[in-house]
Amino acid sequence: MSAITSDILARHNITPAEYQTILKLLDREPTFTELGIFSVMWSEHCSYKSSRIHLRKFPTKSELVVQGPGENAGIIDIGKGYAIAFKIESHNHPSFIEPFQGAATGVGGILRDIFTMGARPIAVMDALRFGPLDDPRTGPRNRRILEGVVSGIAHYGNCFGVPTVGGECVFEASYAGNPLVNVFALGVVRHEDIFYAKAAGPGNPVIYVGAKTGKDGVHGATMASAEFTEESAAKRPNVQVGDPFMEKLLLEACLEAMKTGAVIGIQDMGAAGLTCSTCEMGSRGNVGVEIDLMHVPQREKGMTPYEIMLSESQERMLLVAEKGREDEVFAVFRKWGLDAATIGTVIPENTLRVKDHGVVVAEIHNPALTDAAPVYDRPHDAAPYRTAPMRGPAFASADLLADLTTLLTSGDLCSKRYIWQQYDYMVRTNTTLGPGADAAIVRIKETGTSVAMSLDGNGRYCYLSPREGAKLIVAECCRNLSTVGAKPVAATNNLNFGNPERPEIMAQLVEAIEGMAEACAFFETPITGGNVSLYNETRAGDDLVAIFPTPVAGIVGLLPTRTPVTIPFKMADRDVVLLGGLGFCDATRFGGTQYAKQVLDDLWGMPPAIDLDYEKRVQAAIRHIIADGLAESSHDLSDGGLAVALAECCFSPGNIGAAITLDSGLRPEHLLFHEGPSRILLSTADAVRVSEIAAGHGVECPVIGKTVEGRLSIRNRDILLLDSSVETLNQQWEEALESLLRGTA
């Protein structure tokens, strides 16, 4: 009698063809537990089966890269014997089902990825995307999801004691049924203290530490690999519950245990829990792991082997210790009040063997779960999905100041203080530049140098052109780092897309990967790891709503430790310089801008054009200017273009504004609000030297005005485009998000 029915296979997201492969690999029918193990290891989430062949296109090496993709986090050298480990991960699906815990455990998961490498986490950032807060139909739910996600991130990060130093928060209708929660974490480690998730030495004990195993999150990885339906709410028990206090103890205990020298390899139990950690640790070391589930600390009685192997209970780690030195490891965990138990041993054969009270319930050759996992070259010969036209509507602004106000009070561009004030962004006293800046900076006390980081995505650009959009994202992310004086050196990415089984969605994914690969190679920021989140679609009745293709780049840069250059103008009567020049725009290239979205409620054409070579020179120039101490303030131009960037430079308690006079043939809407890249605003007391440096890099550098007290005015040639009190704009910008969240905007 065959116990495995097609219904059971469907519930495990295993296709009939995949099941035939399983039968061939095992040369027999799988047990139910084995089927569960295959289902999680072969899930999109764990196996990257739809994206793997394309991810190989990313550049992954440079002389700074110590560890590229394939480990829990990427690692790069920062000099003086130290390295940083960093990575981004999504927790999109859980955050929709249960926003608070979904986001909280997203933070927990990525923190474990960092400290399992031996690195102490010192910074977190989040890229968040929700449905519009003021949408008449979905607004109330979008607001509730935002509040829950932000509280969840705050709860976990604040208690754990890692500063949340920045991120982004964007609103778009396509995220209403599929919010995106991408969490980035970064840690610091001495080179000789780096640990890998590799088992070695047959006979060595396999030790389980941390929280007990419960039934929560059974099948989280397969949930994250399917479209949402209206019934997804019934999957709530799949979302795990996080305990940041336990994680903090686990952090301290793991780092201390590693110091004993008795630990050989260590891996966190994240997606697919015990299954993934046992199989991957064995596989990486070309050995196997044999465990007996009766030794696994359990939260409740009567759990089946299937449930124990697939549980995604949080705050658990698996480590391999040196035989005979177990007590040194146990002593550390006892000191921190944590459960630790030997649950098995390393075995010479490359096999995962799971017993329950001595009886084998699963025995699978490791490569069957990892190397032999299906890899699909999904069809992507269709044009990337888009319905937006190439031509936009005819329009003429009635009031440019009103347009600027609309932009500044929109969810995308308004102050996010309400969000980041809930995060402890200062704990560990390393944050020299925190949330609200172009990039965050944390100093590394151990080396006396600093690390800058930025997260950037733009679903609208990528929807119009996944390839061009992905390049623009990388360019902006690098520009953000350069704007604070840091040299971009390495990247991680989170690829959020819809259903890859649809060729027009797969085409989005492939083009975005290729665009990102090209730009990362160009900017010399190899990708050291990341995450792919697919099936971000919601089926509502007959409609299938996919998110905008949303690759998010997380790039880190290096710089000396010093007082940071920040966005606001510092004093009146300084020259305002637009490094990179006024840029270019036409009607087609205006369709992806925030102006098109917020003022015209439209989307068309193509994203802004970019000349990568010019972009690189602009960035080199600003780093040079900052290194020479010539910039009193600096801010890159991005969403909302020149007018929004100028307004943001005016927002400080000092209310220093600017009187700007431009000289351009562009129409005023384009001139003020186009989003052409490669531009940075700075104020300086020495415009002559700034322009010499810019010239040396072959970059335009017009002086466009002077800082003044209290007002922002912008003229083009003889025509006054807008003039406003800085304080009024600042107040509207500061208060907008809370109004939106109260539903009173």
Partner: protein, 223 residues
């Protein structure tokens, strides 16, 4: 002189406190494990910020039972300087070493922000290096920092000049804008703002050094 920084499971500003003493104040500091029943050879004790024991049950409610707190009580009773910062303040009120309680912020959200503090009294070993009325910029980072006490206790604190810091713009709903107080013996301080986060120009303020410098100065006088 030597500062002891208590490490509870869940303390997460312990290292910051240690670093500010050793690197920015220029004195010695060591960590004191919560399971220890003695303080060893320290001249002052800091109960740092964080989430001791996960803040389960109530902030500070479990920490007060940890072995080291017995030694801290004894140390305080003998006149030793004890400074509780943020979670440390919460623990001190739970222990009864300081009056009142810290409850959820008005607005019910965690707030991390630099705030203005007015130095209300220089008559303490924690503020003696300052000037009465001086305005300091020191960050807060808490979800439960709303200082609450009966009217009688509040009157008493004021009558005895035991309110050391007040918020210039009350961020959390604290009674009478109170940000920091001391005990009747004036040797135990509790404050919600984090002075250790304002001890280096790179952090945007060095105003927090005043607290550490005052402690060092008064210890020098007495030793």
């Amino acid at each position: 002189m030597r500062f002891g920084v208590v490490v509870f499971p869940g303390s997460n500003c312990d290292h910051d406190a240690w670093y500010s003493v050793t690197h920015n104040l220029g004195q010695q500091a060591e960590f004191l494990w919560h399971g220890s029943e003695r303080l060893g050879n320290v001249d002052a004790v800091i109960l740092p910020g964080g989430f001791a024991y996960g803040d389960y049950l109530r902030c500070g409610a479990i920490a007060k039972f940890s072995p080291i707190m017995k030694a801290v009580r004894k140390f305080a009773a003998d006149g030793g300087l004890v400074a509780g910062i943020c979670n440390g303040f919460q623990i001190l009120t739970e222990c009864g070493l300081l009056p009142g309680a810290l409850t959820r912020n008005r607005g019910l959200k965690f707030i991390c922000a630099p705030v203005g503090l007015r130095l209300e009294s220089t008559n303490s070993p924690f503020t003696c290096s300052g000037r009465k009325g001086q305005i300091l910029t020191i960050p807060i980072a808490h979800g439960e920092g709303c200082y609450t006490a009966s009217g009688r206790i509040l009157d008493e604190l004021e009558a005895e000049d035991r309110v050391l810091f007040r918020y210039t713009s009350n961020p959390n709903g604290s009674a009478r804008d109170i940000a920091g107080i001391c005990n009747a013996g004036r040797n135990v301080l509790g404050m919600m703002p984090h002075p250790e986060r304002a001890t280096d120009p790179l952090m945007g303020s060095t105003d927090g050094l005043l607290v550490l410098q005052s402690m060092a100065a008064s210890l020098t006088v007495h030793s």
